[in-house]
């Protein structure tokens, strides 16, 4: 898929990871189905699959896609899915709509939503114990990467800063730290883990991918803030203006709409520059950078 146009590549990645996730989530038959239903409802709901797509694109840029890549792609998506369920809870962002569907707690209740998220985190780590081409040592590095990206020094820290930022003034620096943690850490991990899972990445390549990942992680968030003020609920799949309503710090608030758009373009430029050392194999990574700042949802 290296030379496919991006729309086809994205569709390919979405279908590939969805098929694998559908299998994993339906593996066990059991009677008490509510937990399983809540999990399936929250994972198989038409998400963009940006993180798995990054994993696939990176693995392809360095080597080839294998079943090992699928396990990594599932792991990052499962962590993402858990974080969305918990972020939407009434005590957090209190969102009732996600991907144009009522959020998990609206359908299944708060308790089951919390549990579904908890179970998804465990399930993510289970995937990383299934790789069979790479050495157990590399698999353990993947566990460590994912756990660090997800935990108290990564995504959860970002969310903690976020909930404390409601009705509080954040500087641009604080906003940036929050996003680096909240969404950036897992986006970066999706890329780095994709690279590690090939067993072929050089130090130079890993450094370049890190710069790329940090830039597009932030660009993704800037675009999110732009969409929150200029997007339509129907298209973005969640309530437009919900961050504004919560009086949250956003790039648009700190830089203005034009300033935020400029910022997104600068980050896009950095991301593309970081990929200089790669040849045509990184075509899809470049396309993802374009997509991240031009997406409408």
């Amino acid at each position: 898929m290296k030379n496919e146009n991006f729309a086809n590549f994205l569709k390919y990645c979405q279908q590939r990871v969805n098929k694998k996730l559908t299998y994993v989530l339906n593996e066990k038959n059991d009677d008490d189905n509510l937990l399983k239903e809540a999990i399936i409802y929250s994972v198989l709901n038409g998400g963009k699959r940006l993180r798995p797509t990054l994993t696939y694109a990176t693995a392809e840029a360095l080597g080839e896609l294998t079943e090992d890549t699928d396990f990594v792609a599932m792991a990052v998506e499962l962590i993402h899915a858990y974080s969305l369920i918990h972020d939407d809870l009434p005590s957090m962002d209190d969102d009732s709509l996600r991907r144009n569907q009522p959020t998990c707690h609206v359908v299944f209740g708060e308790a089951l939503a919390i549990l579904a998220g908890d179970a998804l985190q465990s399930l993510a780590f289970i995937q990383l114990t299934k790789l069979n081409k790479v050495s157990p040592k590399i698999s353990l590095t993947l566990v460590s990467s994912l756990a660090n990206a997800a935990g108290a020094e990564g995504m959860v820290k970002g969310q903690a800063i976020d909930i404390n930022s409601v009705n509080r003034f954040l500087t641009l620096e604080e906003l940036e730290l929050m996003h680096h943690k909240k969404t950036g850490a897992l986006i970066l991990a999706s890329i780095m883990m994709g690279a590690l899972s090939t067993g072929k990445a050089t130090k130079l390549q890993l450094d370049a991918l890190k710069n790329y990942g940090i830039s597009i992680g932030l660009a993704f968030q800037v675009q999110d803030d732009i969409l929150d003020v200029s997007g339509e609920t129907k298209i973005i799949g969640k309530l437009a203006g919900s961050d504004q309503a919560l009086n949250k710090a956003t790039y648009v608030k700190l830089l203005g709409l034009d300033g935020a758009k400029k910022k997104a373009l600068q980050l896009h430029e950095s991301a593309i520059a970081a990929l200089e050392i790669f040849d045509g194999n990184a075509k899809q990574l470049r396309a993802i950078a374009d997509y991240v700042i031009s997406r409408k949802f």
Copy 2:
């Protein structure tokens, strides 16, 4: 510590894991301290440390305690700590008292309590990437054991059954399934992971430990139900009668107080019988079986 009396052994294990946990939880310095505070508050609060004690006792029965054992002991306790925070939430058991202290969400709010639990789950897996005496392959087996014990087929499933059991009649079989999952899975994992982390366990020993673990896991829960009706809030550290108040299924409700006590004794007997193949090195495992059904909190 193989031949110490149990009170000293328990104290030794508690102090050992507490020291390690204190170090790990304070490793990172940072400004945004509320998440860290919530985590430390919930972990370093004088818990019994039954699971780490099981890990240590098992490792000692098969070999010796090393730093690797500490990482496993911390991992199981961190999962336990996360589960307590989430179980206590208003939308779950709505408990305001735990170990004689206000629960995490009472002190830090619901959002931060959810996040502290989430972060602790990640932190547990991070510990399992740090072992250095055993092979990466064994470490990966530990990741798999813990993730399976914690996730949708283990602890979380048990909690999901539990929240659905409020005001509903459970048969003894359903009650047993719930407990096998909710508390049994992690207790069993604490033992099996302790054994695996020595790199020395035989199939015969693992089978025996599995039988032992299943019995004491259930015995622990039967005793919990007994304490819920016969214990005092001050001593058990949580509100006595809280399960009764929620109209939850318990062993006492299904078997009567005497029936529950008899059941605990039977399970104790099975646990001791399972340890037959072990010599004096399993002294502490036997003592834990005694402790589990005689404890007052």
